[in-house]
Subunit: 192 residues, 2 copies
DNA sequence: TCAAAATATGGAGACCATCTCCATTTGTCA
DNA sequence: TGACAAATGGAGATGGTCTCCATATTTTGA
């Protein structure tokens, strides 16, 4: 997609170091508590180098988010290929909750980024949304899910779950949201 | 709740000016784009005065949010007093969407604040959640809503709606989320 | 009504994170 | 290996945040 420029050897090394460090910090949820310049020191890199590779904090986040999303999308495709549509959708959503539970820091970071609406996550988010859209469409197709509601609503609900990750009773509530959404999706159309 | 200290006359005037200005900026969604010192200038107040009254940006936001929440809670109580429980809940949720639609800037500001999780909105959020809890409890009581899901899930969904206010198709998706949640709430318990 | 005491003001400047710039180092290619 | 291109890193400029205190305003009480 982005025209690959042949990156020099040391450049790639530094870039990788930066990304590795970012991933850790990202996952620990300290992404916004850390002075940006310190990423550089942490990764054993000069400030200038950091800024050359990732002009903004958000650019760095985007790069990390990318890998994250790829994993989730693979998972979605895999489920879709091996399970009945409705079940694939349900499993994916429950898995998402597991995933967020297992990566609180990541959830926190993403929530902040979403809210700031730097737009930095646009590409990654679109990919994730596409995966959800496919799952929902398949379920609609075989008639197990109503057709008057689209995947956007599901994304919103997921967004809410991720953003609220710090609630005391998060896990139970997150599961409850998924339950509501799934049961709602299986309801017949309301008349109005 | 907070011990009221008899505020001096000019102090109250300045404080009010600050709040009025903040409310505008808040509603316009520019809350985080504006240099904090400029609030002072905008409100015709010195920087020092601003910081005396509201030590942080978040403190100022909290003060504004307070009034906002009070209105919504009143609305909830009023609905609860005049409509059957299930209908009161449904109406309130739909009204919330209307409200957010009518105050995009506010939604944006709140989403950012929530994500930053300054904790500044804790009190206001608790009040709002209490209102929703009451609505749900009443509906559970008279048997129109399942009892295995609590209000926290509804809050999460609302949170998601508010946080995603910048999606192109926001309105339709927000309505869809509410529909899913309401239909989900009216479903019988799932077995597992 | 008028000091004196208490309270509040405002803005100059300290502080600190972000980001730029370029002299130096490192890698690549012939 | 030499010469050119690519990349580095960190010193310092920039600009927003917040503190401090000399001055101004309000209140008190005699």
């Amino acid at each position: 997609m982005t025209a690959d420029k042949p990156l020099r050897a040391d450049a790639r090394r530094k870039r990788e170091a930066l990304l590795a460090t970012a991933r850790e910090v990202f996952d620990a949820g300290d992404f916004f508590d850390l002075r940006f310049d310190d990423f550089a020191r942490l990764a054993g890199v000069g400030t200038g180098t950091l800024y050359r590779h990732f002009p903004t904090r958000e650019a760095l986040a985007e790069a990390v988010y990318h890998g994250e999303v790829a994993t989730l999308c693979d998972r979605a495709r895999q489920l879709q290929a091996t399970l009945p549509a409705a079940e694939a959708l349900a499993t994916f959503l429950r898995d998402m909750v597991d995933h967020i539970a297992a990566h609180q820091g990541l959830a926190r970071t993403l929530a902040t980024l979403m809210a700031t609406r730097s737009g930095a996550l646009a590409e990654g988010s679109r990919a994730l949304e596409q995966a959800v859209t496919d799952l929902v469409a398949a379920a609609v197709q075989d008639g197990t899910v109503r057709d008057d509601v689209d995947a956007g609503a599901v994304m919103m609900a997921l967004h809410g779950i991720g953003a609220a990750h710090d609630r005391p009773n998060w896990r139970a509530e997150a599961d409850a949201v998924i339950t509501l959404v799934l049961d709602g999706l299986h309801s017949p159309h309301a008349d109005r």
